[in-house]
Symmetry: D2
Subunit: 336 residues, 4 copies
């Protein structure tokens, strides 16, 4: 079977990684075109990758040389390109978030359902991480009873220019998605507490922040978001169940004993942390698309994340516990 021809919209850091990943790691797919708003970058990438450079995302989507689309442009443009891809009846992989606005999420749901075929996958790569997958398998095994509490922490060494809202919109969206995927339940309420502010935060950021989510069956989820923890990129998830605790493993690192201690490295490189997850994600997406279907996180998952993000933002602004309400999941998105 010939390679799936992929066009990529938005070739900033992550977009360029996707080009390389698809060309060098993924079987059965080739990047054949790109669109990048920054023309200088655009031209240079076109040459170095040897691909078509389109003059707009829309043109790329419509091109007969593009079978499927990857959207990794700036967040607020996602919805537009995804809707266009649905219109063009092409499979589209959209980096998370699908959209920052739940109303846009509704539009995409409506359009996709109207088109009659599931075409959209959202880039929640953690679902492809072997660690999270192993945790989920154990939870579903039934050996540990019902989950009761999840303690998550999501820490970056330092991100310059980060603002208070981004902690929820950008960072926490990973936990919003992965926890409901681990538990198979939706959220019903949320709360946000500011921790004591780190002196490394910068003037536009309150850091760390502490989020609390509650699911339909009453499971409590806590998420510490710490953007400037200084020491490394560190993702933790401890699931407290009725009959035991299950914890996400950390990446393997050489153990060194020297200078009065034993130590192992914690990398600051968040891309490296989920490198394998990204590769499996794209490989599974390509393989599914070649079979004419979507296997990963859907428009529904993107919509829910937008709803929860809005509720959390409101909880942060008001200091109140905020109920989370969303439409019922359309049959269209239910796993048969």
């Amino acid at each position: 079977m010939s390679d799936l021809r992929i066009g990529i919209i938005g070739c900033g850091a992550i977009g360029q990684d996707h080009v390389k990943r698809i060309n060098e790691k993924v079987q059965g797919a080739t990047v054949t075109g790109i669109f990048e708003i920054n023309e200088k970058v655009s031209r240079s990438l076109g040459e170095s990758f040897g691909v078509n450079v389109f003059s707009s995302g829309e043109q790329l989507i419509e091109s007969s040389e593009v079978d499927a689309v990857v959207v990794s442009s700036s967040d607020e443009t996602h919805a537009r390109y995804v809707l266009k891809a649905i219109e063009a009846k092409k499979f589209v992989f959209c980096e998370k978030p699908l959209t920052p606005k739940s109303t846009d999420g509704r539009h995409i749901l409506d359009a996709e359902i109207a088109g009659g075929k599931q075409l959209v996958q959202v880039g929640f790569m953690r679902r492809y991480d072997p660690g999270y997958r192993a945790v989920r398998t154990l939870l579903q095994s039934g050996s540990y009873g019902s989950p009761l509490v999840l303690h998550c922490s999501h820490r970056n060494a330092a991100i310059p220019g980060f603002t208070t809202p981004m902690a929820i919109q950008s960072s926490a969206s990973h936990e919003i998605d992965i926890c409901r995927w681990l538990l198979g339940e939706e959220y019903v309420s949320c709360e946000v507490l500011m921790a004591k502010n780190s002196r490394h935060s910068g003037s536009d950021l309150h850091d760390p922040q502490f989020l609390i989510l509650r699911t339909e069956s009453g499971i409590l989820i806590t998420v510490e978001i710490f953007i400037n923890c200084q020491y490394g990129y560190d993702i933790n998830c401890e699931v407290v169940c009725e009959d035991g605790i299950v914890s996400l493993p950390s990446p393997p690192e050489v153990l060194v004993k020297n200078n009065g201690k034993k130590a192992s490295a914690i990398s600051s490189d968040w891309k490296a942390r989920f490198k394998e997850a990204y590769e499996v994600e794209f490989q599974e997406w390509v393989s599914a698309v070649k079979q004419g279907r979507v296997g990963g996180p859907s428009t529904w998952d993107g919509y829910i994340t937008a709803v929860v993000t809005e509720a959390l933002s409101q909880a942060r602004d008001t200091g109140e516990r905020v109920p989370i309400s969303h439409m019922e999941c359309p049959d269209f998105y239910r796993k048969k």
Copy 2:
């Protein structure tokens, strides 16, 4: 110097441990008398330990054969005996809680101040645990910047007969004390969330519970209390600071590799977990008393715990965030 003669009021499980501990592990002290409400137990202990059996706590306190008193009777009797010991101008070690009621705490504060001499120590043994002491030393070293968040979990394998209020009154009191000791700050507000209820909870207990405390400088403290976690007695404390994370160590255990896994034991025995702490606590108390002073947790610490316990109980009952207010710390109790 001759041995300090100690009388123990209340010889249930923990009281009997204290008798053995003082006689077998602590230098410079001997148990010379006991009072135990259960007469049968009382007589049998008197014989097996070879000590005087008093017919009331008051009699024991007043006896010329008792230099100092240990109170390990039921919680609601603590205040009475402590007040009596203050009246008798004898040093008194009171098991935690000093009292469940903050008003009683005020009475004891007033009496002790009126007597002009500090006589009371409260049994918060975790302050003597080498792990907590090491954490505190690191925090005070300044190497990690300011603490911002503390994540605590306090899990028991199973406690039959436990009720919902006891999770705060009995279990959480340890965290209430140890966190303010680690941080050197008082609390300003609290909140209690019920997690999903474990099927192992029993009808009178909601388990686990999740407590949130906030300190004067804004540090956020979270405490998961899980009475029936099934797997063992497991105490965790992770202090998230501006420049690093400091975590309480677990007890050392043999690592075994067999049957497809590597594993180490988690004991269910909470007394064994803090055995060294108890011994150091009593040794330091005896040594200080022989020097005519109190070195450990004071009436002030017992009063604050009662205040916070009441606020947490109110937060649990109302579902609201509750401010914590207490009198200012009298000079009498400030470390010079």
Copy 3:
């Protein structure tokens, strides 16, 4: 660039894995032909993989439809096929061991040098494991001074039908190669000690065995080979240096706390343990071959392993310390 067309000789368990790996994981290569001595297996594989089935390894090597050859047939046939591939001037990847006999190793060295071009790579996949690579990087960083002792253990849960000689010939060959690669030194002597024999050993196997190797500069290497350790596949390597200890990490596994312990799994699946190493190995081999060169373990490495294997076998049979002597490394194989 078009795909490298690969023919695979020997399609037992590992050979079939290679077919799948090359077709599904490796970029730029396709398996186009196989030869397998078992005709029934041969036909069935030809159909299921959709590849040519050759009637002999020689025919496969000579075929114009095969650009490069993978040899994964039984050990004693390796030398014959490798020599044939050299004759045909085709790149050949030979599963370890290149040959059990050092004299055959000399023949291959001679033939390859006579041909004037390096064509042979030997399948020591551990050199591609991220853990071993990280250990080597740290050792070469100079931060830990000179290595002084290496403690290795190589344990399998159970291998039915294993014999005493195979512990050295089959299992230890991995450590023979990886330790000299980590250290950049050759061996000068060896010794073999039988540990107490496990009751799980079976009649033809003494298990575990304990090997001692000494390098040119005096570094001591110990290797415990334990074929029936029961609990899992467990590979350890601790490098004791002048200024610190560097240890190979174990694979990441979910940590579970339940039933009175905390535990993480140790898999028995040795293929899974080095899955990533195998993939990187083949990808790097294919990429290098397409550039007309060999980048990995060479005929020289295969020859040395045969020499050391023979010395260890003699040490085992005699109970003596045995010197290890080999020809000097030809310039042809020295990294420029």
Copy 4:
């Protein structure tokens, strides 16, 4: 019961620790007299501890104010004092080694048997370490089948003035004793290999050294002795059994995440490592002596260590495997 009155011969660093330990940590015993060869030290200690200062070890032993004797003088004087104590029919605790010479060990055995009562205990404190005790309990549980190999490492950060023979005579004597205690078997042969010499070794020391011991039933024991490992005092013991591996735990330490790594301290303080073991050792010795018996390592254990030390020294000097032969254990020393 009145306190056991203890005289201590030899008040160097470890002797002074013993004085403090007995007076401050051990129940039922008081140091009443000392003898120290260095007169200045002697006088000053006598004053600061408030004890009698004897003018010779013999005088101390014979004094009616001394019930039991602790010998912590220089190694070569041990036998003399122990023999004297046996003559005086007093219980004597002798720091390890009982004697460097197996012939002296024989003399002590003969004298003690002739006296008709076991009086001597040797200071192998590791037998009282909770970690080693837990390992032994697991081995004796039968859950792991027979032990087959023991891997030990014994590392000090740095010891100035150490010489090559001391690695066996002083350091390894701990492993010689603890391994036979863990296994309940005697040794039959030994071998010593010099590792590559560390640049930190100094001119009189080859460091690290690697010892191999074999027991009666064929169990293989390896011991890495590394006097100048730089990073800390680190004692490891991994017991490879037929059905699993059992490993000595490391001391608990705070886990810190900062500066790109997670780390915990390894102390250089060997006294702190076995502090609890020392306390339990002396407490159990005092308690047993007050009951008129010896409960710990006996003259037999001290004799065996001397025999094995001599064999290892010969193995080191000759480079050969050396058989270990000793007299049969007299019934006098067999546990009934």
